[in-house]
């Protein structure tokens, strides 16, 4: 097996987006019958690489070689025909259709009149389902299946063609333990049939249990491939984070004030449980964890977008009930949301109007909005945050990511909030603007704002936070001060290893 030709080989893959080099000469290969982990922090280039492999993006340079043949894939269907199948994190199934229709979507067997050959379709599908040993049949409506079983449908799709390589993207993110066992059996089965598997996950336990080799990406570059059997967590972490980051900032540079926000035993259904923390004036509290750990949901609750099922929220020592964003804004809580373009900005509106959106009703004389007051506010925050735009008339949608984010931050600063929540402050923002945003967050803290930063990027969390709350699947695992935190302990806490140690 070790001398076999690779099922899939990547040579110097390059992909650039305006202002960002997302993939910078990535090369590695996956052998038949191997489970190959792909690791890296968020933003390291994993998903871009997978989209290139899945035919969604076209690489700007480099070659993809499947079984010694160079391939070009212009669409996901073409990728599938070339033998590369992608099991998405977000399932992409038509819920109203049957399992069989989903599996053969786009390639339904038909007779010469164009009518679907149902009998043939169901027979073929049932044969695949039997191989997967699942408890449903070809005629089941996909919407009636559990998430785990829907994932099985995606996998079954992979098996309709001679798959050379199957890519799993965080496959266990929404599975229960029992469901995971079934998934791992299926992966073993694929393995024994000589399929090469790329396995993307942040969960160290799974990586060590399931994979044969591990390739690490960082900042869009290939950082090395490790043999799982001879590797420790520290080795992986080291490769993922790289050099000791010069932006690590462990010293607290100013005094904190009184507690601005206190959260006591807050729970919200199954999203998060028993959350308690506080943020003092002038303090940045970072929330770190995997996607789906419940961090964004806590932010949404504080901003009135979700109603907690238990617990208390105190603002300056007084209990408050936040029913809507209107309440939150009135109380002085602001949220810079995770998805800037979908949740934070009105892209078709100019910069000035975006910035004054929450307070425009206060900027009127008679029935009309006072242009001069708006331009003044915009000018103030443009200078303060160094927003680069030719004029306030520029549409928000035409700005770069960094400047867009500054518009959103400026929007909330102009409301003079007490608590500023920033969810993924630098997602999709280029490196230069990233450090500007980080500096901005620190400056705001030193001016006395109480700030919550949610981030999936460890260097960012380490850099901006005075305290770090580590979350795993809806619970706070541990709270670190900036002085005591180490990368290893943080990774362990968010991978749920702390918890499993306790159980064992």
């Amino acid at each position: 097996m070790s001398t076999a030709t690779p099922a899939l080989r990547l040579e110097n893959i390059v992909k650039t987006f305006p202002g960002v080099r997302a993939l910078d000469g990535v090369s590695f290969s996956v052998l038949p019958g191997e489970v190959h982990a792909l690791m890296g922090e968020n933003g390291a280039g994993k998903s871009t690489l997978m989209k290139v492999l899945g035919g969604i993006y076209q690489p700007d340079g480099g070659e993809i070689i499947v079984s010694e043949q160079k391939v070009v894939m212009r669409s996901p269907l073409e990728a599938k025909h070339k033998g590369i199948v992608f099991i998405h994190q977000e399932l992409s199934l038509a819920k109203e259709l049957s399992v069989a229709e989903n599996i053969y979507l786009g390639e339904l067997p038909h007779n010469r009149f164009g009518l679907v050959d149902w009998q043939h379709l169901f027979e073929k599908t049932d044969a695949i389902l039997q191989r997967l040993k699942v408890g449903f049949d070809a005629r089941t409506r996909v919407g009636d299946l559990s998430i785990a079983n829907q994932q099985m449908v995606e996998i079954a799709r992979a098996l309709t063609h001679e798959a050379k390589a199957v890519i799993f993207d965080e496959p266990t993110a929404s599975l229960t333990d029992a469901e995971k066992v079934v998934l791992f059996e299926v992966i073993e089965d694929l393995k024994s049939h000589g399929v090469g598997i790329i396995y993307i996950s942040h969960r160290m336990e799974e990586i060590f249990k399931m994979t044969d080799r591990i390739t690490v990406l960082r900042d869009g570059q290939y950082r090395g491939t490790l043999d799982t059997a001879q590797t420790t967590e520290e080795d992986i972490t080291q490769l993922m984070i790289g050099r000791k980051l010069d932006l690590t900032r462990n010293a607290v540079d100013h005094e904190f004030g009184a507690a601005a926000l206190e959260v006591e035993n807050l729970s919200c259904g199954t999203l998060y449980t028993d959350i308690s923390f506080s943020v003092r004036e002038g303090e940045v509290v970072g929330f770190y964890g995997l996607v789906g750990a419940g961090r964004t949901e806590i932010a949404e609750t504080l901003f009135g977008l979700r109603t907690p099922t238990a617990g208390k929220i105190l603002l300056n020592g007084r209990e408050v009930h936040i029913e809507s964003p209107v309440d939150a804004i009135e109380l002085g809580i602001s949220l810079v949301p995770e998805n800037r373009k979908e949740q934070g900005l009105v892209l078709g509106m100019n910069c000035r109007d975006n910035m004054t959106l929450p307070q425009v009703d206060a900027l009127v004389s008679g029935p009309f909005v006072k242009d001069s007051a708006e331009i003044e506010i915009f000018g103030h925050y443009r200078d303060k945050l160094e927003i680069k735009t030719p004029s306030w008339k520029q549409l928000a949608g035409n700005l770069s990511g960094g400047n867009q984010q500054k518009i959103v931050i400026g929007k909330w600063l102009s409301m003079h909030p007490k608590v500023l929540i920033v969810d993924e402050p630098t997602r999709g923002i280029d490196v230069g603007s990233k450090s500007e945003i980080h500096k901005l967050i620190r400056d705001l803290a030193s001016q006395g704002y109480a700030i919550i930063v949610i981030s999936s990027e460890m260097p960012e969390i380490l850099h901006v936070s005075d305290r770090i709350v580590a979350m795993y699947s809806g619970r706070i695992m541990r709270t670190f001060t900036a002085q005591e935190v180490t990368e290893d302990s943080l990774i362990q806490a968010i991978s749920g290893l702390g918890e499993s140690e306790k159980v064992a």
Partner: protein, 333 residues
């Protein structure tokens, strides 16, 4: 970026370019085909064109603000008919018998109130149930039309007040009363959408509802206000038209919603909301009316008008899409 600005300017100017094209085309073609001797671009002809644009024009202006907000109102035609009935019938009610011509402002007020209330019903349902405006107003379109028929069966409702007819036929500075109403509504709505908080928030809600909610904007009241406004404007349109004609058939106003939407879309307002312009809708209204008049002028039958407008609408939307795809570099679907 400059090409984007160019595209935007081109799109804003497109409807006026189209109007200029129509004027030239019908003037030239008319000199070969026209049965009448008068020139197409005759002043009286054009003034009449504005007047005839008014009923659908006033409704289309209202439709613009509802569509910018991300909604739609299909019930305007039925609201128009029901308000007309209230207008004409209330002038004959015994309680107002002693008022003489003072009944006019009262009947106007009643008709306008009817429109506003019907609009408010739509708005409240959309706000409180969260059902899509298309479905809600499809239902109220049928429901309101039902009320029209319940009122007087298949019979027309008629009442002519000559003071009112004189008012409606009057010309001030050359423009007819109806034209003044159309222009007045356009000015007020332009100010509303471009200079007030409500207008600003309506655009924001239509463009990105989630971001608007996150900015602390109360979405429901803004939508309600827009529905009240379009109901009011449908009634105003009826008031202007029926003051002169004095007789309303129960099927009057049918398909007005579609003509209004056609004018709005021709003017470049997006069906999805968030972008659009009152002035461009005015252009869309005039373009449609020119087309009707122009085709009649060169001797084409009225039945060809709908076909031509339909073709132009599809062509315009296709062109718009091509421009958008180019500007944004979107993926082809």
């Amino acid at each position: 970026m400059t090409s984007e600005t160019k595209t935007r300017l081109f799109k804003q100017g497109a409807i006026w370019g189209f109007i200029a094209f129509e004027l030239i085309f019908f003037s030239v073609a008319g000199s070969y085909f026209s049965l009448s001797k008068g020139a197409f671009m005759d002043a009286d002809n054009m003034l009449l064109l504005f007047k005839q644009s008014a009923p659908i024009g006033i409704i289309a202006l209202g439709m613009t603000i509802v569509m910018i907000n991300g909604n739609i109102d299909l019930s305007v035609g039925a609201t128009y008919a029901l308000s007309a009935i209230v207008l004409l019938d209330s002038m004959t009610w015994p309680i107002f018998a002693g008022l003489g011509d003072w009944v006019i402002p009262i009947s106007w007020a009643l008709a306008l109130l009817t429109g506003a209330v019907l609009g408010a019903v739509n708005g409240l349902i959309v706000w409180k149930t969260g059902v899509d405006a298309f479905i809600v107003t499809l239902g109220s379109m049928l429901g309101y039309r039902g009320l029209v028929f319940m009122y007087n069966g298949e019979d027309p409702t008629s009442h002519l007040n000559w003071t009112l007819v004189d008012f409606a036929e009057a010309q001030f500075l050359g423009l007819h009363t109806a034209t003044w109403f159309l222009l007045g509504v356009a000015v007020i709505l332009w100010l509303l959408m471009n200079r007030t908080v409500h207008g600003r928030n309506a655009y924001a809600i239509g463009d990105n509802r989630e971001a608007a909610v996150n900015a602390g904007i109360r979405v429901g009241p803004h939508m309600l206000l827009n529905f009240v406004l379009i109901g009011f404007l449908a009634a105003l349109s009826a008031v202007v038209f029926y003051s002169e004609s004095g007789s309303v058939n129960p099927n009057d106003g049918s398909l007005f919603e579609l003509w209004a939407i056609t004018a709005v879309v021709l003017g470049g307002t997006k069906l999805a909301g968030g972008s659009g312009s009152i002035i461009s809708t005015l252009g869309g209204v005039i373009a449609i009316q020119l087309l009707r008049k122009g085709l009649g002028y060169i001797g084409a039958g009225t039945e060809t008008v709908n076909l031509v407008i339909g073709l132009i609408l599809v062509a315009v939307l296709f062109l718009d899409r091509q421009l958008n795809v180019k500007a944004k570099g979107e993926l082809k679907v």
